[in-house]
């Protein structure tokens, strides 16, 4: 290694170690601090004490977060799947294609807080959904829709033309091809994209705090009831200085759920890597 190259290598290696090390620092910090806070009671009890959250547990927040994420990913994945199929297989007009792409790219760039503003003014007030888990779920669905749609579209476009032409020349219609060829081929990738997107939805606090998230609410019984969510709970515990211990506990639970989703999403990649040296 000669003299002029040495600083460059130092720089690249140090930056890499720093970047990779960051994750372990974050995980280590949260996991160490949360030791002793995490008990079965903390996970399964309702928040209690005065101010609320200074004692008790976070069960309604866990349930609320999971439910709102489920609603969001359900809506977003259905819409994203069909619009990706439409744009790749059925859209013949180049102009419509361009316009759709443009709108989706625009929404992908809009910050989550502005989407929350839209959810509040349109879904909560104009459509009279009220501060509810449905309004929050729909807002989050709009947030993760572009993420799923763009990736699905890319996936479908990479399908070899040969395959589609072969099935078309055999007189098989598109719908049959999509259900019997494309879906089995891409099922794993599709699920992993949706899982990754739901991780983003679960961690987002800004859109839900405007559209239906409360500091203290029971586990939601219907789509119209307000709910608690982990990121917002964590924010209030810290922001209003209610309880640092419980904040660490909440952060631990949230982080574990997100890591779990990330791991699920990575399974297809891991399986593929195993075959390689």
């Amino acid at each position: 290694m000669n003299v002029t190259n040495f600083p460059l290598r130092c720089w690249t290696i140090i930056s890499t170690v720093l970047s990779i090390g960051l994750l372990f620092f974050l995980l280590g910090f949260v996991f160490l601090k949360a030791q002793g806070v995490i008990t079965l009671n903390f996970i399964l009890a309702k928040p209690a004490g005065f101010p609320v959250g200074s004692a008790g547990g976070i069960w309604p927040a866990i349930a609320g977060s999971l439910l709102v994420t489920l609603i969001a990913s359900l809506f977003a994945s259905i819409l994203a799947f069909f619009s990706a199929v439409y744009m790749v297989f059925y859209c013949r007009d180049a102009r419509i294609h361009l316009i759709l792409n443009l709108i989706i790219q625009c929404i992908a760039g809009i910050p989550s807080i502005v989407l929350g503003l839209f959810g509040y003014a349109f879904l909560v007030i104009k459509l009279k959904l009220g501060l509810s888990i449905l309004a929050s779920g729909l807002t989050l669905a709009i947030m993760i829709f572009p993420f799923i749609q763009i990736r699905l579209q890319k996936l479908f476009q990479e399908t070899s033309k040969q395959l589609l032409e072969a099935s078309a020349s055999l007189g098989i219609n598109q719908a049959y091809t999509i259900f019997n060829l494309l879906l089995p081929m891409y099922r794993k990738q599709f699920l992993s994209i949706v899982t990754l997107a739901s991780g983003f939805a679960m961690g987002a606090a800004a859109p839900v705090m405007l559209t239906g998230c409360m500091m203290n609410a029971p586990v939601p019984k219907s789509l119209a009831s307000p709910f608690m969510s982990l990121p917002y709970h964590l924010y209030v515990l810290i922001g209003q200085g209610i309880s640092l211990e419980n904040a660490y506990g909440t952060a631990f639970v949230l982080m574990t759920l997100i890591l779990f989703l990330n791991l699920l999403a990575a399974i297809p990649t891991i399986l593929r890597m195993r075959g390689k040296p």
């Binding site: 002029t4 974050l26 709108i103 502005v114 049959y176 990121p231 990575a266």
Partner: protein, 284 residues
């Protein structure tokens, strides 16, 4: 039978596409419509360039210049910190021959991008803010600098993945030739890959900048939130933080409410512009 299924499927996908397109279009239209109302009462330039934010006073003043400046300020600080580390890491990853190690590093960066912003905010508050208080003897460590440091960590994965993609392509392209000429890997990185990646670095910067500008929670937790002109070690308030903190208490249809929508609209326009810039630089 099969034909009806096909027709049904086409119909279904068309309907769902129309629903999504209308919904997404509605977001832009609705925010724009709600925010235009304010200009009946306030002059456009007074709004953008006004220095005072006090929508609840007897004579309400809504100027968002301090917030606009703070939003840019934290984002620029974040990029300045994050870019050197991100590009270094991208160079190393692009030239990494070990496939397993490379995919391990890529997935670590993916996880880093997926960590919720409130957790970054929590750690920022407990580590970065505390550190700044000790280091600079500040009364309160909540400042533009701490916001920038937290954001730098958050945008790092975006910079690395965006830059590494292009660098990897040019590495693969020139690898054989460089090997044949007996050029060392380090020299190749320095003299060939890095100068070649100027466009990619610009693209990753724009992407990171737009991420940083739109970030709400993490910044809000460490920046102090007071609507004054930002200084590096002083408090500030970004546009997303302003909206998140005040929309709950703003009366429906009031000047305050519309002012917050307009602030959101201004942010949205900046970001759509950055996004457009991102796609044009990416194509070149």
């Amino acid at each position: 039978m099969n034909q009806t299924l096909e027709k049904l499927f086409i119909l279904l996908s068309t309907i769902f596409t129309v629903i999504s397109a209308v919904l997404l279009f509605l977001v832009i239209i609705f925010i724009a419509k709600e925010s235009m109302l304010i200009f009946q009462e306030v002059n456009f330039f007074d709004f953008i360039c006004g220095l005072t934010w006090n929508p609840l006073a007897g004579e309400p003043r809504v100027g968002i210049l301090p917030m606009i400046l703070a939003t840019f300020y934290v984002s620029i600080v974040a990029i300045l910190i994050s870019l050197p580390i991100g590009i270094g890491c991208a160079l190393e990853l692009a030239a990494l021959e070990n496939e397993r190690l490379k995919s391990f590093c890529t997935s670590i960066l993916g996880v880093l991008a997926g960590i919720p912003s409130v957790i970054y905010g929590l750690i920022g508050l407990l580590v970065v803010v505390k550190f700044l208080e000790k280091k600079f003897m500040l009364a309160a460590g909540e400042s533009i600098l701490s916001g920038g440091i937290v954001l730098a960590v958050m945008v790092l994965p975006y910079i690395v993945s965006s830059a590494a993609e292009t660098m990897e392509k040019s590495y693969v392209q020139y690898k054989e030739t460089s090997l044949a000429l007996g050029v060392s890997k380090s020299y190749m990185l320095r003299a060939l890959i890095l100068p070649n990646a100027k466009g990619a670095i610009l693209t990753s910067m724009i992407l990171a900048f737009s991420r940083a500008m739109g970030e709400t929670m993490a910044v809000m937790m460490v920046i102090g939130n007071s609507p004054i002109l930002p200084k590096l070690l002083g408090k500030g308030e970004t546009i997303p933080a302003l909206i998140a903190l005040e929309i709950g208490t703003a009366g429906l249809g009031s000047l305050h409410y519309h002012a917050l929508f307009t602030a959101g609209f201004v942010l949205m326009i900046f970001l759509i512009f950055l996004n457009a810039l991102f796609y044009t630089t990416q194509k070149v």
